[in-house]
């Protein structure tokens, strides 16, 4: 039973893009060291223009000092779109 649950958990953490947006979401999550929330970035890409997302990423990288801080800056740009703990909800 535990093995089955482990296997299901691993599958839920796997992500292989099936769309260009999915691919961009994966790279975005990687750059912000937030891979476990890749679905949130995919939902964000569905709702916000890519140009705004790239601008926010650039700002986060410029003003952030390391991944964690940069992620915080990026998230503030798009609250409430990036509420954590709501993976797959979008």
């Amino acid at each position: 039973m535990i093995e089955i649950l482990d296997s299901m958990l691993k599958k839920s953490q796997q992500f292989v893009p099936e769309t260009v947006s999915g691919y961009i979401a994966l790279q975005l999550a990687r750059q912000l060291d937030d891979i476990e929330h890749v679905w949130n970035y995919l939902a964000l890409l569905d709702r916000q223009p890519l140009s705004a997302i790239v601008a926010a990423l650039t700002k986060a990288k410029t003003h952030g000092n390391g991944h964690h801080n940069a992620r915080g800056i990026f998230e503030r740009e798009f609250a409430p779109f990036l509420r954590k703990g709501h993976d797959h909800a979008a």
Binding site: Q14, F15, V16, P17, V20, Q27, V38, K61
Partner: protein, 156 residues
């Protein structure tokens, strides 16, 4: 027409190209190469020249091929890279490990898995009319275009 990126997948007897403007796939085609090296080089050069002119390609993406084991394929790649650079085309050479890592979490292990992902993104590339190496070219192109889009400043 806006400048485009030509992603080239070079095999011993085949050259496939995928054309991108930003992260949009505009065109893909495959070209058969002769077995004789001088003829293959001439054919590949003419094909790349035609593609470059037709689609106004200012960037190119290719697989980074190890040069420590020279083969007909690696020699062809090196020659085409030189020709592209002489024509003022910015060339991006992509490591296979980077490509595998980019197309999945956790990173994919095999090129066939990358092909499956690309076939999901652009099913038309997996149709009977297209050679599977068009999928490889499209993977290269998407990788470079999104790297260019997002990698304006690396995190430390």
């Amino acid at each position: 027409m806006r400048p485009s990126l030509a992603a080239l997948r070079i095999e011993r007897r085949r050259l496939s190209v995928a054309i991108f403007i930003d992260h949009h796939l505009e065109h893909a085609e495959s070209h058969h190469l002769p077995s004789d090296y001088p003829k293959a080089l001439r054919s590949a050069s003419q094909f790349v020249h035609k593609v470059r002119r037709t689609f106004r390609a200012e960037y190119a993406a290719l697989d980074k091929y190890p040069s420590d084991h020279p083969t007909q394929r690696s020699t062809l790649i090196q020659e085409l890279v030189m020709q592209l650079r002489r024509a003022d085309v910015a060339v991006y050479e992509v490591e296979i490990a980077d490509l595998l890592a980019a197309f999945g979490n956790p990173p994919l292990r095999y090129r066939t898995q990358v092909r499956q992902a690309v076939a999901s993104i652009w099913p038309i590339l997996a149709s009977g009319d297209n050679h599977p190496s068009c999928l490889d070219a499209a993977a290269l192109g998407l990788y470079v275009q999104v790297e260019k889009l997002l990698a304006s400043k690396e995190l430390t």
